[in-house]
């Protein structure tokens, strides 16, 4: 039961590995960005799960209420920052892909690598 109870961590590990595998195995630049994004999204789930406490209330202080267990808001705030970072990384990556398509005429990593080797020789 303990293992099943941690199901969101299993989702985190699964998504992380899916993203990482796509990142490593694919040579198309857009697919690489997709892999990276899934990889980063997995970490969001990790942080969000970290802040949850079973039976906890959202962390809003109500005057007079005693003995309430609150969820930990800090990991959620942290991951908000990381989400912004992830979005900006993706924006820069997509902008680079547009420029690469203009300069090379392709977004297949293997073809670009071949052209690079050709211009080196």
């Amino acid at each position: 039961m303990r293992i099943l109870g941690l199901y969101n961590y299993w989702v985190f590990v699964f998504l992380m590995m899916v993203g990482f595998y796509i990142l490593i195995s694919r040579r198309n630049l857009i697919q690489e960005i997709l892999g990276l994004t899934i990889f980063q999204t997995a970490v969001f789930i990790f942080y969000i799960s970290m802040g949850s406490i079973s039976g906890a209330e959202p962390p809003i202080l109500v005057p007079g209420a005693e003995g309430i267990v609150y969820a930990n808001p800090l990991p959620h705030v942290l991951i908000l920052t990381a989400i912004v970072v992830g979005v900006s990384t993706m924006a820069v990556a997509l902008a680079l892909v547009v420029r690469i398509k203009e300069a090379y005429g392709t977004i297949e990593g293997d073809e670009i690598a071949d052209m690079d080797t050709a211009s080196e020789a």
Binding site: F39, M50, P75, T81, T89, A93, A103
Partner: protein, 491 residues
């Protein structure tokens, strides 16, 4: 005013970056960069003096006391790295003016300085912060702007190099976030000083995994062999001034971050006694020294040659750190500083060649010893320093490194360090031979680079000689910082 120096150091370039992006004038943006670089240099020197006088400076942001609020923590090591960052930026910015005008499209120049300022601010923030999540944010600020800077290179391969760096750098940064998350799960704290007290010196699975994620993540950022694959292309195709800046600052700050995590956050007892990380790091460094130097020998492009040499030199720095002794750490910290000086001057010399000849391929260097005597003399002195010849900074740090290795009876390490120097002789000699002993190819306008490029280059070359002849200041500070990291006290 002076008590706010730790935060001003970061805020000044950050604000200047925003201004530079909107003013639409390349010259004005350059002026902002120059101003912030010198302001940072001035304040970091004054911070270093204050740390030496009064000990560690703790600055609390917004009046929220740590461990809840973010704290900036300037000790001897961070102050030393801050001075290095300020000094390098203050020297490279004057060089950038003409070099950037030549290499970057005029409509992009102010964006270039904006990105450079952002990168600078990020590196300064990483060095001064005492909060691990804040460190991640600054790491991403500096990394994302570095990807942009590299993509501004004139060759289309710069775009591909920037993309590869972006993918690997983001994986590294995400690994760091995972590591930080695990630290937070176990301790409930993000403050480095607080974490240091909360982490027990015993085996714990979550903390072990956190250490692994952080080491690999930071290892990607500092191009630790075999995680260095992004570095050669990125350094080769970035604009000259950017290569010089990144080569002498970005990897250095990443090494600083590694030392912070291993020694300050996890502590010597956990990292090296419980986890025995040195048994992994030392072999990787030895392979890195050999592989980087051997690859450097075969390069036809001198910037790529120097980039592979950087892989080897960074391995020297990490090797010093992973000896886990005061001498070893002193060597590592000294080489961190000294390598920034030598690679800075070598890449600036290549920037002069690029400006005059338009290529940094080894064929293009023919006869440059006669047509560009000052530039090539700078290259030769920088190269001698890389090899580790006495009277240059390279000798000082390698001396400490060999001392540290011999002290522990590690003869293999000693042998590889010396072998690495011999390999450096070979790859530097290849350039020197072409430049001094072959006839000029006759293409290109010829003549020496303008003074606005030569003076910054020679400023770094002279720093190579000065700190090589009188190393009391640098080795004193590095020794103090080493004792601090080993937990033996000090400021």
């Amino acid at each position: 005013m002076s008590e706010h120096l730790p935060i001003l150091l970061v805020v000044v370039p950050l604000a200047a970056a925003a201004l530079a992006a909107v003013i639409r004038s390349g010259r004005a943006a350059w002026g902002l960069m120059l101003l912030s670089a010198w302001v940072v240099l001035g304040s970091s020197v004054s911070l270093l003096a204050q740390v030496l006088r009064e000990g560690r400076i703790r600055y609390v942001l917004g009046g929220w006391p740590p461990p809840w609020g973010i704290e900036y923590n300037i000790d001897l090591l961070s102050a030393f790295v801050l001075v290095l960052l300020g000094g390098i930026a203050a020297i490279i910015t004057p060089f950038a003016l003409r070099s950037v005008e030549r290499e970057i499209h005029s409509a992009q120049v102010h964006f270039h300085y904006s990105a450079l300022l952002l990168c600078f601010a990020g590196l300064l923030g990483m060095t001064s912060t005492g909060d691990v999540f804040n460190l991640f944010v600054f790491l991403e600020i500096s990394s994302i702007s570095a990807y942009t800077l590299i993509a501004m290179g004139s060759d289309r391969r710069a775009l591909h190099a920037a993309f590869r760096y972006l993918i690997m750098g983001s994986v590294g940064a995400t690994f760091i976030v995972i590591g930080i998350g695990m630290l937070y799960m176990m301790t409930g704290s993000l403050n480095m000083a607080d974490l240091a007290e909360l982490i027990p010196a015993e085996r714990n699975r979550t903390l072990s995994v956190a250490l692994a994620f952080l080491t690999v993540g930071v290892g990607l950022k500092l191009a630790l062999f075999p995680l260095h694959l992004w570095l050669p292309d990125a350094y080769t195709f970035a604009p000259s001034a950017v290569t010089a800046f990144l080569a002498s600052t970005a990897t250095k700050v990443a090494v600083y971050v590694l030392a912070r995590f291993l020694f300050t956050v996890f502590g010597v007892a956990f990292t090296f006694e419980v986890m025995a990380l040195d048994r992994i790091l030392i072999p990787l460094c030895l392979f890195g020294i050999l592989a980087g130097s051997l690859r450097a020998i075969h390069q036809r492009n001198v910037k790529r040659l120097l980039a592979y040499s950087s892989v080897a030199q960074v391995a020297y720095v990490v090797l010093g750190i992973s000896l886990v002794s005061v001498t070893g750490l002193t060597a590592g910290i000294l080489h961190l500083f000294n390598h920034a000086l030598m690679k800075g001057s070598l890449f600036l010399a290549m920037g002069c060649v690029m400006y005059k000849v338009g290529s940094v391929r080894i064929e293009a260097m023919r006869g440059l010893g006669r047509t560009m005597p000052w530039t090539m003399a700078a290259f030769v002195i920088g190269g001698l320093s890389l090899v580790g010849v006495p009277l240059t900074v390279g000798f000082i740090s390698k001396w400490y490194l060999v001392l540290g290795a011999v002290e522990q009876g590690r003869w293999l390490v000693t042998a590889v360090v010396l072998l690495g120097s011999l390999l450096a002789v070979i790859y530097i000699w290849r350039v020197v031979e072409v430049a001094y002993f072959e006839e000029a190819s006759g293409n290109g306008p010829g003549g020496e680079a303008p003074l606005s490029l030569l003076i910054p280059t020679w400023a770094l070359v002279l720093a190579n000689l000065y700190f090589g002849i009188d190393a009391t200041l640098t080795s004193g500070i590095a020794g103090g910082a080493a004792r601090l990291l080993m937990g033996l006290g000090g400021p």
